[in-house]
Amino acid sequence: MRARLTALTGTLLLLTGCGAADMTKQASPFADARGARTVTLSVQSWVGAQANVAVAQYLLESELGYRVDTVQVDEVPAWDALSQGRVDAILEDWGHPDQEKRYVHDKKTIARGGGLGVTGHIGWYVPAYFAKQHPDVTDWKNLDRYADEMRTPESGGKGQLLDGSPSYVTNDKALVKNLDLDYQVVFAGSEAAQITQITRFAKEKKPFLTYWYAPQWLFEKVPMTEVRLPAYEEGCDADPAKVACAYPHTPLQKYLNADFARNGGDAAAFLKKFRWTTEDQNEVSLMIADQKLTPREAAEKWADRHASTWKAWLP
């Protein structure tokens, strides 16, 4: 048995070439399938990220002659994948200071790619139809008054605060506790489940309170109003257990694999210059998520209308 195992390992070593294997150079087996230059982009699960990637992919393929592979990964594993070179770029990062310190500062395997041009904001939202009837609901101090109406079988007698994917940044449990609200955080577990539930509520014109973020295409379909939380100040969210303030406004960032940033040629230069507005992103997102266009069709339509914007990104 042992002899066979040794023989097997030996054969394996011979097959793969003796010596050290570089774990930092691990491309996808599906890349470069037809001898084309390939860029691999990571896509996170929200549609805004899909929109960035769709447009970048379309332009890289049609204008610069690359083949683009996309990989769906959650945010933190995407950083890891980026440092290993399994993906070449993250186009929309919402702020991961721990990862940034580890990979950008210490290991230097990831390089900054500049801003995306879009500013992100997380908050608590109620549907506009409900806020119109009860304008005072938009202040957190009055939320308890509506807890009864927000109750669901899952919220255990309290009001339901609907949270989304486990991969997203959230302080909601601490917020509910520290602001002493009569609410229970219910995790939908995925953005898909959360969106499905929100559209359900909206069809029935039911009141609800949800964790949500902008820019997001769903606002076009289900208009929502933000609930004012105690104002954000620099550092008020430093201790995750003691947070009692709103979420910050985050200019979203791009990150590239360090090697790719240096030697990626036109593709790297293009991705560094890629910079558009919230309206642009929403336009593409809505085509993908609501009109059910494929990301490619949506990107093509956007590119037709906004040639002046993307011409500036070309190297």
Binding site: A20, Q26, V71, V73, P77, P153, L162, F187, A193, I195
Partner: protein
């Protein structure tokens, strides 16, 4: 609760004591009478005592950091894991390039020819239709990526499984060592070990292939061992008397005699690898699974279905072909099999060359059918009309609400409200009468381990969801199974439906489930029921059909009504099969717990998803371990006397 039972037993007439179950319970009550006051005095707390927990956060976080810091420099990675990873990438790439070079025409021709040789003209036509459908859905390239990944994963699984199976089949000592290992591998929910694999190999194909091998190798190992052990004694003696060496005996007698089991093992391995192909998309495996997962992000059921259908088609085709290969055992191979391979090769090359010459190597874009929009419209219509306000019966949202309030909440609060030792006693009291003291002890220790890991409360929450889902699955499964066993036409109609439910990736029906039942534990239960139902129906129907026809005939001649036949003859005689169905139901429901975390099921499922999404080894791995422990507990509690041989059934 258990002490109450015991009290009533003590005054019971002595005749009851002669029954082994009663003796076991009495013994348990005596044990409890001694141990519970001790435990209560030492750790008086309703929930799991904090003195008995071990916090693994520190060590697990350090282990995770160590791997990330040393992955690019440590010899273990440079000289071993890195090569494993590269070998996987090189082989998957080789298969993928081969498939692309053959083009859609070549691949279709090759698969059709192969199916014809192995299984006849009907399956050949079915295979061709299935592959063309994959192309027509616009999924040709992802299908080839999945096929390439599958081919490598199945090959490695078969190699690993056969080696383990040979070891277990030939040596009694190794069999004893391997059996609990294989048992555990079979109850492991795949999500539970994605995280460590990803940490070591990073996201992508190598991690996906290795996770698939862990998942898919056990059935091969188990069936190989079974086949070797089940070989006809007389034949073996005859071979021995001819003076064969051990190697000759293995190669000329034991392995050929086990051919049927080996092929069944291959079949099971392929099925499980394919079901893993989708789960592996969460860690960036690409292919069809990735398309399903990406469609989920934009809440697009139609697009998810377009990628899900090729998976179902691949599964059905591969299942039928390998099953047909297994059925021909014992018969002489058909004459066409002799020139099968060269013929298939010739056809493939001809088709590939023809496609290349005509410039049609890629699937032509104009030949695709858009299914997404009509499917989405249909789903929207359905959810709009069923969600609420249906006259008399109420809408699905109301059902979900009632189910949560009346079934899930009391069950969860009841379990969490019991003192910890009472829950353990309850498990022992259920497990011991069904199995041996060993299975009962394993069940109790496994459940206790969730407490030690510090996730007692969420584990009981998950347990309550599993119990509710299993109850629903069994009620529906037995009813449909009985109907299928009694009506041939119904069973024929049911078979493709079961195939689809069993192989359709769960991600596809997550959105409809949420749209119907809202976010929470109710949709998690619904998803689990959909996933586990086919296996329960199949095993029930099969068990009922295998009931001795003579017994049934006798009952009929005595004038028993159909209901009486079922209740008094078929069900008692099919008891082993029904127990197996219960066991399978439990294991399969638990496998979907993590999926439930994606629709608001919370508890352990959410923690496992959270760990994977945040790269948080401490949360994810502990939740995964607790799910495994729950699996062991439930498996042992429902352990039928005869060990099952396959997980997917």
């Amino acid at each position: 609760m258990a002490t109450v039972t015991a009290a009533s037993l003590r005054i019971a007439p002595p005749g009851v004591l002669r029954r082994p179950a009663a003796r076991k319970l009495l013994l348990l009550a005596a044990l409890a009478a001694v141990l519970v006051p001790l435990a209560h005095a030492r750790w008086a707390s309703g929930s799991w005592p904090s003195a008995l927990t071990v916090d693994l956060t520190g060590p697990l976080t350090r282990a995770g950091d160590w791997i990330i810091d040393n992955r690019d420099s440590h010899p273990l990675f440079l000289y071993f894991l890195g090569h494993v990873s590269n070998a996987v990438v090189v082989s998957v790439r080789a298969v993928y390039l081969l498939l692309l070079a053959a083009g859609w025409a070549g691949v279709t021709a090759a698969a059709t020819a192969l199916a014809w040789c192995v299984a006849g003209i009907r399956l050949a036509l079915g295979t061709a239709a299935a592959l063309l459908a994959c192309g027509a859905l616009g999924m040709w390239v992802p299908t080839m990526q999945t096929l390439a990944l599958m081919a490598v994963a199945v090959l490695v699984s078969v190699a690993v499984g056969t080696l383990l199976g040979l070891a277990a089949g030939l040596s009694d000592r190794l069999d004893r060592v391997l059996r609990p290992v294989l048992d555990t591998m079979q109850v492991l929910p795949a999500f539970a070990y994605l995280l460590p694999v990803v940490l070591v190999f990073g996201i992508g194909v190598p991690a996906a292939v290795l996770a698939t091998v862990v998942y898919a190798a056990p059935p091969m190992a188990r069936l190989t061992a079974l086949g070797l052990r089940g070989a006809d004694k007389e034949v073996l003696e005859a071979v021995d008397s001819l003076g064969a060496t051990a190697r000759q005996r293995l190669l000329t007698a034991r392995l050929p005699l086990a051919r049927k089991e080996l092929l069944l093992g291959l079949n099971q391995t392929i099925m499980m690898a394919l079901s893993m192909a989708v789960i592996a998309s969460v860690i960036g495996a690409g292919g069809l699974g990735d398309r399903v997962y990406q469609a989920l992000a934009s809440v697009d059921v139609g697009a998810a279905l377009a990628a899900g259908i090729p998976i179902v088609l691949l599964a059905v085709v591969l299942d039928r072909i390998t099953a047909a290969a297994g059925d021909t055992t014992g018969r002489r191979p058909a004459p066409r099999a002799v020139y099968a391979v060269p013929a298939a090769l010739a056809v493939t090359v001809a088709a590939a060359v023809a496609a290349r010459l005509s410039g049609r190597l890629d699937w032509p874009a104009s030949w695709t059918v858009a299914v997404a929009t009509p499917v989405n419209d249909a789903v929207a219509w359905m959810t709009d009309h069923l969600y609420s306000g249906v006259p008399v019966v109420g809408g699905t949202a109301d059902w979900a609400g009632h189910f949560t309030t009346w079934v899930l909440d009391p069950l969860r609060d009841g379990l969490q409200g019991l003192p910890w030792w009472a829950v353990l006693l309850l498990v022992a009291a259920v497990a011991w009468p069904i199995g041996t003291w060993r299975t009962a002890l394993t069940a109790v220790l496994a459940l206790a381990a969730t407490g030690v890991l510090g996730v007692w409360e969420p584990s009981l929450d998950t347990l309550s969801q599993v119990l509710a889902a299993v109850a629903v699955t069994l009620v529906l499964g037995f009813a449909i199974g009985v109907a299928a066993a009694r009506g041939d036409r119904f069973e024929r109609l049911l078979r493709p439906v079961l195939d689809v439910f069993q192989t359709m990736p769960q991600f596809v029906y997550l959105i409809p489930v949420v749209a119907l039942f809202g976010v929470g534990r109710a949709p998690a239960v619904a998803a689990a029921v959909v996933y586990a139902l086919p296996a329960v129906v199949r095993i029930t129907a099969q068990g009922l059909r295998q009931v001795d026809p003579a017994a049934l005939e006798a009952a009929r001649s005595l004038g028993a009504t159909p209901a009486q036949q079922i209740r008094q003859v078929q069900l008692p005689l099919a008891r082993p099969a029904l127990l197996l169905a219960v066991n399978q139901g439990v294991v399969l429901v638990l496998a979907v717990v993590v999926i439930g975390g994606l629709v608001g099921g919370g508890a352990l499922g959410y923690d496992a998803v959270f760990g994977l999404a945040q790269g948080d080894l401490a949360t994810g791995l502990v939740a995964g371990a607790a799910i495994v422990c729950l699996g062991l507990t439930l498996d042992r509690v429902t352990q039928p006397t005869e060990r099952r041989t396959t997980k997917g059934a």
